[in-house]
Structure formats: structure tokens, C-alpha cells
Symmetry: C2
Subunit: 131 residues, 2 copies
Amino acid sequence: VPDWNLENRDPQHLFEGLHLIGEFYGVAAELLDNGELLAGLLQEGISLAGATLCQTLVKQFEPQGVTVLCLLAESHVSLHTYPEHGALFFDSFTCSITCRPHLIVETLREALHPSDLNLRVLRRGKGQANI
Amino acid sequence: VPDWNLENRDPQHLFEGLHLIGEFYGVAAELLDNGELLAGLLQEGISLAGATLCQTLVKQFEPQGVTVLCLLAESHVSLHTYPEHGALFFDSFTCSITCRPHLIVETLREALHPSDLNLRVLRRGKGQANI
């Protein structure tokens, strides 16, 4: 888990977004095949992050696997699971300096207990325009 | 635009995904505020890419801006626009070696004529498991 140093964004340059892209491994298969649980965790994390959830799509695949897409006022969050591999792929893209998207990742991590976690943080946008 | 060298993925190692993350700049504001047009372009690109569209969410923001989220059998595609800045942020995450997600980007590019385009290509997953 990286040092979540997200507080140094320049409030005068709001036209940018933060994209968190991660993979969890070693998660119990029954957790990863539970769409209701996973959607609830994302909703909880989005609320903690201070983001605004507009709409959610949940799809249960056969024979296994779940996708959850959350449309936010600040952009989106997605989650895709592979229970047969104990794996979950997520991303969180938020265009707002008041949003704390790392709390979405932390909410998932605390509930799902991955044995291994990979995370990339991308800054997006030119950061040149004052909105 | 990068050289789309996506054909060298090892078919024995399918447990991986390709995440294309990009920004368009210099796009006409009226195109970026047209949710129906943008959703249609994504659907066209997804079809050309050989991916399977399950569900789409379109949200028109006030006073301007559009988000489109597409839930795919292969993962997801998203698009967020800022007409006031001529900007569009998109991502396409696909877990399938038969899918050609660059055709989604090309479909958007040909229709929207950005003056500037930034693109990152991330490979995700361990690539270790044979599905």
C-alpha cells in the first residue's frame, strides 16, 4: 500500500483527475462472487471518500464473477472479480480535489483481506485550467 | 497515437487485461455535450473491437458534461467530458485476448477530431493462470 500523499494537489488547478488502478489477489472466492456485498462495499467507500454516487450497475456472470460500475458526480469506480483466481480488479477515477479516493481502496481491502495487492496511481489532465 | 502492438499477447496466459487510459483535448463543445452521440460512438467502437456490451449508463450533467459507462462481458469502458474545456477522458479495460480495444479509441478519434491526444496503455494481471 502506497503512502497516500494526495493532499498536495494545487486547489488552483482543479482540472485534473486521480485514477487509482489496482488488483487484489488471494481473496476468498465466496466474497468475490457476492455482487450485493461488493456493491455495498463500494457504496460505503464512495461515501467515506466524500464522492457522490449517481447510479450503480451490478452484473453477476455465469458460472462466476461480478462486475460493479458506479457512476459518480466526480467520474466513476469499477470492480471486476475472478473468484476462480481469488482476484479482483478495480479502478477509481475522480475529478475533485476534495475527494479522498484512497478510502475506497481501504474499504475494499479491510473487508476482503487480499494476500497481495498491486496499485498504480495516475494523475490525469493538464492541470492548467481554473474551473 | 501509439503503435498498436497488441497482437503479441500469449494465448496461454489469458488471465490479464489491457487498460487504455486517454485524454482528448481540443474537441468541439457541442460534440462533448451530446450524450446520445457519445454513447453511440462507444457502442460502435465496442462492436468493432469485438467486445460484448451488456449495459450502458448515460448521464448528462448540468450545466454541461456527459458521462457514459459501458459494462462489457470483458470488463468496462468509460467516458467523461468537459465541454467547457474541449476535453474528454476515457478508459477501456478489457480482459480478452481476442478483443481489439484500440478500435474504440480510433472510433472516438475519427468522430471527434481532437487537436491533442494523450494515451497510456497498462497491462494488468499476473498473466500466470491458464483459464
